[in-house]
């Protein structure tokens, strides 16, 4: 069987901030849904099915799919919930893609959202780790990332200042994004002077906790073809959720002689082979990457094949990933500027779609035609999609 080709015909995102006290969860969802439907020139009636995702323990709502009907518009429609932690947003995007690619539905609404202001985010994340082996060691999201950063610095000789460059870049880009949460022009010294959360990760290196939602309309080929403005096409996708224990990357590298992040390397190899990418830095016009903290903006560039191992500090400092560079990374400001966790991965896909449609406003990369979008989460898991201006010949799997 062959996948049906799938286009993105509508994108909606909410204003993001640390606390959207003006709305509750269902209203936040509805804000994104209405924006996406308006953008797609559709009404609720046109939608055939809905995929929604967030992280249950953040808002403390069980069965978000059935709870959120008044916001999502799912009354009398098929809806399912997909959740994989940090990767939730990309999981939802991929899920909606498969709804359409299967031929079962023509217009599918993907929704990702989070209201972190109503959550004890770190308290909830701690429970992700195995209660016996990992939980006593890894407190929340920061500890595991600090371990990764320490290991990366030891492996490559990268410095805290190299990582700070990434934080400066993304936060500066956010000045061009009216939806972003943190919009601030900082310099490396400012990042370096923020307090340590867990050495070498500082406050300025970390993503914020954000309230926000994103909705994207995926449509079958015939509908996308007939759409008044050119759609963005899903050209390929791949993911790996390799591990179950937070200590697995350390064991893989130090004990087994492997690498830290094989999930991203393996997903990337599959994706690039499917899509025909041999030189990502040259071929991608823009990348929206789920970088949960600044050091990820170094290691992930290597895992995604943008440079050789240990080559990321030089790559990013060359300006190649800045606006105006060879392949700007995170024109939206990325995750370091806004992290409404369940929405975050979907926002990467939405931003990639806007870029290849030439609709990204002040954050537009001129002439962007091929974009990479990623999701990070779980236990060093990676979801990856290629979004393009041109319709693909075919999409495999």
């Amino acid at each position: 069987m062959a996948a049906k080709r799938v286009g993105i015909v509508g994108v909606g995102m909410t204003r993001q901030s640390s606390a959207r006290r003006d709305v509750y969860g269902i209203e936040l969802i509805n804000e994104a849904v209405r924006a996406a439907l308006d953008d797609a020139q559709m009404t609720r009636k046109d939608i055939d099915a809905i995929v929604i995702g967030n992280m249950d323990h953040f808002e403390g709502i069980n069965y978000v799919d059935t709870w959120s009907v008044d916001g999502s518009g799912a009354l009398g429609k098929p809806i399912m919930k997909m959740t994989t932690g940090g990767t939730t947003g990309t999981t939802v995007a991929m899920g909606a893609y498969y709804h359409v690619a299967s031929g079962m539905f023509d217009r599918v609404l993907a929704i990702g959202w989070e209201k972190n202001s109503e959550s004890d985010t770190t308290g909830a994340i701690i429970t992700a780790f195995d209660p016996f082996w990992d939980r006593p060691t890894f407190g929340g999201a920061v500890a595991g990332l600090a371990l990764e950063a320490t290991q990366y610095m030891a492996e490559t000789g990268a410095t805290e200042e190299d990582a700070a460059y990434v934080a400066v870049r993304d936060r500066k880009n956010a000045l061009n994004n009216p939806y972003a949460h943190l919009r601030m022009e900082l310099n490396i010294e400012a990042i370096m002077s923020t307090p340590y959360l867990a050495w070498p990760v500082k406050l300025g290196d970390m993503c914020p906790r954000t309230d926000g939602a994103c909705a994207v309309v995926f449509a079958s080929e015939s509908i996308a073809n007939d759409f008044p403005s050119p759609p963005a096409w899903v050209r390929g996708l791949a993911d790996r959720h390799l591990w179950a224990y937070t200590s697995d990357p350390y064991v893989n590298q130090r004990v087994k002689g492997g690498t830290w992040f094989p999930a991203m390397e393996r997903a990337t190899a599959e994706l690039y082979e499917k899509v025909g990418i041999t030189d990502p830095l040259e071929q991608f016009d823009v990348a929206e990457l789920y970088l949960p903290y600044s050091f990820a903006g170094l290691r992930y560039m290597e895992a995604l094949g943008f440079c050789e191992r240990a080559g990321a500090p030089a790559l990013v400092r060359s300006g190649a990933t800045d606006m105006g560079g060879k392949c700007p990374v995170n024109p939206s400001g990325g995750v370091l500027s806004s992290n409404a966790i369940g929405a975050t991965g979907l926002l990467r896909v939405a931003e990639a779609a806007l870029q290849v449609q030439g609709r990204a406003g002040d954050r537009q990369v001129p002439g962007a035609a091929l974009a990479l979008a990623t999701g990070f989460g779980g236990c060093y898991w990676s979801d990856e999609l290629v979004i393009g201006k041109e319709k693909p010949e075919k999409v495999r799997g």
Partner: protein, 380 residues
Amino acid sequence: MEPVAIVGVGMTEIRRERAADTCADLVFEACTKALADAGMAIDDIDVVLTGSNDFFDGRTISSMAVMDACGSYDKNVSTVEGDGTFGAAHAVMRVLAGWGTCLYCVHHKGSESVMPLITNAMFDPLYERFLGIEAITSSALQARAYMDRYGVTEEQCAHVSVKNHGNAFGNPVAQMPLELTIEGVMASPYIAEPIKLLDCAPVGDGASAVVLATRERAKAVAGKPVWVKGIGYNCDAFHLGDRDLSKVDALQAAARKAYSMAGISDPRAQVDLVELSEVFSYMELMWLEGLGLCEMGQAGKFTALGNTAHDGVLPVNASGGCISANPVLVAGLNRIIECALQIRGGAGGHQVEGVWTAVAQGLNGPCGQSQCVWVLGGEA
């Protein structure tokens, strides 16, 4: 829809408490059984989907705990939260979209959950939760609305319990085979009127898995494939006050979709067997009507006359159903698996003769708010 086959099924034994097994142990057992049933190795699987719920598991990113056990290493993988009928529906989408084979597994450890608290969290945090409403009490409201509307009696509901607990004697994975009488059910204490103890499904520990394949890949499988003929799912309003709880709009819409895909125009004539999610005995009656297999309000009489018995004109829950074994999220997938086993002729002690077309049903949310219907058949 292009043909998709169920080529392997695996169910763990469902028990009240499987204290020696983690969720990962249960998933590994179910996946191993499904692969063995398909005559496949994990290398033959192209994509893996899991099903879990962070509340029930008490873990954020609950899928993480089973990522190794489900065999997803170095494969594309995803997770659908909620009942197994929904997750399996997404697995079918993956196969239709170009993957040759998909392994889908779902687990539940009720023994590590506090059901009243966790199902209370389905309700609105500001207006509803403080009432203490949860799965049982909300279902009691629905049972009362349904029974009052149609004059369905508690005795008619009790027939479901007696039948299904009796059927479970033929099913080795079932948790509660019981020899009951109508009087015995009627004498059991009220949990939330009109629901009595023996009207309720237990909550158990278990996992199940299925292997789905394209027609091409199904050819390589030794056993008899069972074909997915139609799938429909649909969602009703959230607030109980926004619904007429005696109605089954979402189920009817889901069934219409599934039947139309499967080419079923007269379900009463064309469906040979039903496996549905009767978490409470009244639900079997409501869902039978919603599935178009009885007139509205008539399923109580239909059931009391023995029509849905193992040897009746329309066997319903020949496996013993949810009321005999209810590993919550797994329940819907087990309905699909039981239909597949019946069509294959592999249901053992609870085999019904001559099953060619079977219907499975599962649900998410309070009072069957979101409903999923599958039609399975013996040929593509």
